[in-house]
């Protein structure tokens, strides 16, 4: 008996400790403290109207059905301060300007990219995570903030799998909602704010609806955690975009056997100039702007009607109805065409050494331009003849570039069963989809379709429905699709080498953010940091990238984890293979290149450079050992 009691005591003690630890981290999640900038410096990338449109135009996603006024009214888990206060949301990497005020588009005075839209049927306003949430960057230096519009977001917004220490927006939101729901006095204050004078009357209904949203958060977290879908922690600034879209669309919406492990997180790519690219996405897999945007919105949380409650496909004229807002998407897309690359703010980050930059330009010609120079196509050779300029980008196979292949391989290898959608080849043939490279429609097996191909056809249907519902046809549709482009699909095991205008403003580098600054990117792999800390936006103008020291709440990026490899894109002596793409660059050459990269994309500064003759490309020693012996012979 005494033994039983003692054991019981021990169990209680352990449970108590566990709860105490969980509560501790709910109160003190592992995120950096927020420091309001003295001011936010904007770099004249576009005008203020364009900026506001980009920041707060909704695209048609919801946060599991979270209402806009709920988010605004929500308190933090263990105090009565507002959840949306910069001191709270800023910790998760969401961006505020101390001078920002509520506006029509942003009545809640929320951070960049948290927009709202009104559901046509219910009339309710929902939180809408729009493009700007992930594609806006900020660099902090000496108490100032430099806003990079269209740059790389550095928040942990996408993460769905809870961790003990916390650190993601979703987990913090879930905690705040749970404590609001289960703490009656907290819920009373919440209901007062949301319902106003009707608080008494509608309290029960609100509780019911609120719980439904909370349950969806919990269900997603449980599902993703139980299945171990995201073993590589994404941390700030990354998400396995393709993997998450695929798991949402093929797994959540169609069939649970379609879940695949997504362990290839990528940075949020910067958006200036992308309308000029022939193909977009890190691996150059998508061609049509609207289809790419629709696919992205489905992954971020746009609703999509495929099946009824009995699991049967809904009637054909209702199928593929979505919350995607094509008019708004088109407006955002058009506005982004006016976005210029950011200019290096000499007044804050220090003057540019034009002599060094001139030397750097010659080195760029010699070592970088072959892959990274934009190649404007003559009209006859463009994918979209109307697009001027259209840049043909190289997609470099991972075999050559040597950077982490996980993301590209997952896209190329994963297969999904979409037979529940009841597609036939005949129907698919009628869609505006072009398969480029391996395979034709005849080779498409609906029991195991690749993610890019399946998504192309699905977005084609979703687009069709959206255009039909909006009464858009013909030329207008072609224009909104983007230069009348078809929905193209490619699945290359490689990553595209984009032109480097304004690249200085987009750390960390490589598609998976595994290299913290430009100096390390130009250094041999042996000189790159194996582990480094990120998450507080502290900019290092010397090495051009993020500071990497540990700080309270920092995220440790360990490049030995699957998907995080920092190998490849390497300049060093020896065999030009396995990711070694060029000759060794001496440190002074790296510094010169960095000086040029600060200028690149800024015509006025580029004109001030003096011509320095570029050396010819150095071919490396002949090596063949990484090629299988039989092939080599």
């Amino acid at each position: 008996m005494r033994l039983v009691l003692r054991l019981l005591l021990l169990v209680l003690l352990l449970a108590g400790t566990a709860i105490a630890v969980v509560v501790h981290y709910l109160k003190n999640p592992h995120v950096p403290a927020y420091q309001a900038p003295e001011q936010v410096l904007y770099l004249n990338q576009w005008d203020e109207a364009a900026r506001q449109l980009y920041y707060y135009t909704p695209q048609g996603t919801t946060l599991k059905g979270l209402r806009y006024d709920w988010l605004v009214a929500l308190e933090q888990p263990f105090n009565q301060k507002r959840f949306i206060a910069p001191e709270n949301l800023g910790r998760y990497g969401l961006l505020f300007d101390p001078k920002q005020t509520p506006s029509d588009a942003n009545p809640g005075n929320l951070p960049v990219g948290l927009a709202r839209h009104q559901d046509a049927d219910t009339g309710q306003w929902y939180v809408d995570i729009t493009c700007a949430a992930c594609h806006t960057g900020e660099l902090r230096y000496q108490g100032q903030a430099v806003r990079i519009d269209g740059g790389a977001g550095m928040h942990a917004l996408a993460s769905t799998v809870p961790t003990l220490k916390g650190g993601s927006f979703g987990q913090a939101l879930g905690a705040a909602m749970a404590l609001t729901y289960y703490n009656p006095s907290k819920f009373d204050r919440f209901a007062d704010k949301v319902l106003g004078i009707n608080a008494k009357r509608d309290r029960k209904k609100l509780r019911f609806e609120f719980k439904a949203v909370l349950d969806r958060f919990t269900a997603t977290a449980l599902n993703d955690w139980r299945r171990g879908l995201y073993p590589t922690e994404e941390g700030p600034g990354r998400t396995d975009a393709f993997g998450r879209i695929a798991n949402t669309v093929y797994g959540d919406m169609i069939d649970e056997k379609n879940y695949h492990i997504a362990n290839g997180p990528v940075n949020y790519p910067h958006l200036w100039d992308i309308w000029k690219f022939d193909w977009v996405q890190w691996n150059g897999s998508a061609m049509q702007p609207m289809a790419r945007n629709v696919g992205e919105a489905l992954g971020v949380g746009a609703s999509l009607t495929l099946f009824n409650n009995n699991g049967q496909p809904v009637a054909i004229n209702e199928r593929y109805a979505s919350s995607v807002r094509i008019h708004d998407m088109y407006r955002i897309e058009e506005t982004l065409k006016t976005l210029k690359p950011p200019r290096w703010p000499e007044e804050l980050f220090g003057a540019i050494n034009l002599k060094q930059a001139s030397k750097g330009r010659a080195l760029f010609e010699e070592n970088c331009a072959y892959c990274h120079a934009p190649r404007p196509q003559p009209q006859a050779k463009r994918l979209a003849p109307e697009r001027d300029p259209e840049w043909k980008l190289k997609v470099i196979p991972t075999r050559i570039i040597g950077t982490d292949p996980t993301a590209a391989d997952n896209i190329a290898d994963n297969r999904y069963d979409v037979r529940r959608l009841g597609w036939t080849r005949g129907q698919l043939a009628g869609q505006d989809v072009t398969l480029v490279g391996d395979g034709t429609l005849a080779d498409v097996d609906l029991a195991e379709v690749s993610s890019a191909k399946g998504l192309a056809y699905l977005t084609a249907y979703v687009e069709d429905r959206a255009y039909k519902n909006a009464g858009i046809r013909g030329d207008e549709r072609a224009r909104m699709d983007g230069f009348g482009l078809k929905i193209g699909v490619r699945e290359l095991r490689g990553y595209k080498a984009r032109p480097l205008d304004g690249i200085w403003a987009t750390p960390p580098f490589l598609h998976n953010g595994s290299v913290p600054n430009l100096f390390q990117l130009l250094s041999p792999v042996a000189e790159r940091e194996i582990k480094f800390h990120i998450g507080n936006l502290a900019f290092d103008p010397k090495h051009v990238g993020f500071e990497t020291q540990e700080f309270p709440g920092s995220f440790l990026l360990d490049t030995s984890v699957t998907g995080n490899s920092n190998r490849g894109h390497e300049f060093r002596d020896g065999c030009r293979q396995g990711g070694v793409i060029g000759r060794y660059l001496s440190p002074s050459e790296r510094w010169a290149l960095i000086e040029y990269l600060k200028v690149l994309g800024h015509a006025e500064l580029e004109q001030q450079l003096t011509p320095v003759p570029a050396k010819p490309w150095t071919e490396g020693p002949s090596c063949d050992a990484l090629i299988p012996l039989v092939e080599a012979q």
């Binding site: 041999p524 792999v525 065999c575 396995g578 060794y584 020693p621 050992a625 990484l626």
Partner: protein, 399 residues
């Protein structure tokens, strides 16, 4: 009182010791039992390539480059292993006159044939250290005037056949996967992690640790008194073999080496110098092969398993003779450092087999190309006519 207390302590200690002894004994017994059950033939007589080897190979190359960069000396990049040479000496290799017909294969198909050769003796470490330090010792032979297309496409017309060995019959890892994790830990300077890569006891490599410790052994009296083993298997015409070289004093004048001062850093070089240049006494080795009997436990894909001589004996195929000579000149030492030894400098009849050998094809080439480019040295296979000093960077001497 005190006595009783000490007595108790002593008894407890004795019990503990006994228990520990029993555990060790039991562990040893279980290990013996386990190995006697699992280490049995038959084994495959062809290569079995595990998945993922190419990716691991690339990782190993990165680590190797890191190692040579971080271990370079102040003027040169050195090898990632066997960085310190005791000397490169000229040798004559003669195919055994009465070689049985079945062993007349590849470079050894003509009994009595002579080949000129370079032989490089080395310490195994990635950085030169005192010869008295525990280490592996290497012997690499480069036969010249070997006719026929070679395996490496970029060096198909080279006239060389290399034999690369060290003084242990087995290697401290089994395959590329294990080598990768072990090597990565070593590159970070973590010796324990090399053999105990995680908390999972299934990944612990006690046996390989013991091999590793054995590999780091005290120096021989002279590089000429040690035996050297290929460790990894090779083709030999229709056979699969491992090879070795052993001292063959009967074919040379008897020689008692004067005692060397082992406190001096390079006493192994001094011993070569004493014998070949001062005392003018030649040295002799026998080159031998051990044929695989696939019905026995003689695996191709695990270099940590010794092929037992009781399963298959070694048979001499050639005699190696190092005549008295002067070898310790700046030109020859530089020439020696710029040579590239790889088992893949080989006729197809002697194709390297097994994971560790497949790894060596890529890793040795990558390290060699890197080293030579960084050192500004030409990288080409020598011929019998190549003389030290030819084609190498001129050695700058102070005016």
């Amino acid at each position: 009182m005190l006595k009783r207390f000490f007595g108790k302590i002593l008894a407890l200690f004795a019990k503990l010791l006994l228990a520990l002894g029993l555990i060790v004994l039991a562990g040893w017994g279980i290990a013996e039992l386990y190995y006697s059950i699992t280490w049995r033939g038959p084994v495959a007589s062809v290569e079995e390539i595990p998945p993922g080897e190419a990716a691991m190979t690339q990782k190993i190359i990165s680590d190797a480059i890191f190692i040579i960069e971080s271990h370079k000396d102040n003027t040169r990049i050195m090898r990632d292993a066997h960085a310190k040479a005791h000397g490169c000496v000229r040798a004559d290799v003669t195919v055994r006159e009465d070689l049985p017909e079945t062993l007349q294969q590849g470079a050894f198909k003509t009994p009595g044939q002579h080949y000129p050769a370079w032989v490089r003796f080395s310490n195994g470490n990635a950085y030169p250290q005192f010869d008295s330090a525990r280490d592996a010792r290497g012997m690499a032979i480069k036969l010249m005037n070997v006719e026929g297309k070679k395996l490496l496409p970029s060096e198909a017309d080279a006239q060389t056949q290399d034999l690369v060995m060290f003084n242990q019959p087995l290697f401290f890892v089994s395959d590329v996967a294990e080598y990768q994790s072990n090597f990565a830990a070593q590159a970070e300077g973590q010796k324990i992690k090399a053999f105990f890569p995680s908390w999972d006891p299934r990944t612990w490599q006690f046996r390989h640790l013991i091999i590793g410790l054995k590999t780091l052994s005290p120096p021989p009296e002279s590089p000429f008194t040690a035996s050297y083993f290929s460790i990894a298997p090779f083709k030999y015409g229709p056979h699969n073999i491992k090879y070795r070289t052993v001292p063959d004093p009967e074919r040379c004048p008897s020689y008692t080496a004067p005692e060397q001062n082992k406190n001096l850093p390079n006493f192994l070089r001094s011993s070569l110098y004493q014998q070949l240049s001062v005392d003018q006494v030649p040295a002799c080795f026998a080159i031998q092969v051990q044929r695989q009997d696939p019905s026995k436990f003689m695996p191709l894909e695990d270099t940590s398993i010794e092929w037992l001589e009781s399963d298959a004996p070694f048979e001499t195929i050639a005699h190696l003779r190092i005549e008295a000579q002067d070898f310790d000149s700046p030109e020859q030492n530089l020439f020696c450092d710029n040579l590239s030894f790889t088992p893949w400098h080989s006729l197809p009849e002697h194709q390297p087999l097994g994971g560790i050998n497949r790894l060596r094809r890529a890793a040795y080439e990558a390290v060699s190309a890197y080293r030579h480019e960084r050192n500004g040295a030409p990288r080409e296979e020598p011929t019998a006519e190549t003389q030290p000093g030819d084609g190498d960077l001129p050695i700058t001497t102070a005016p």
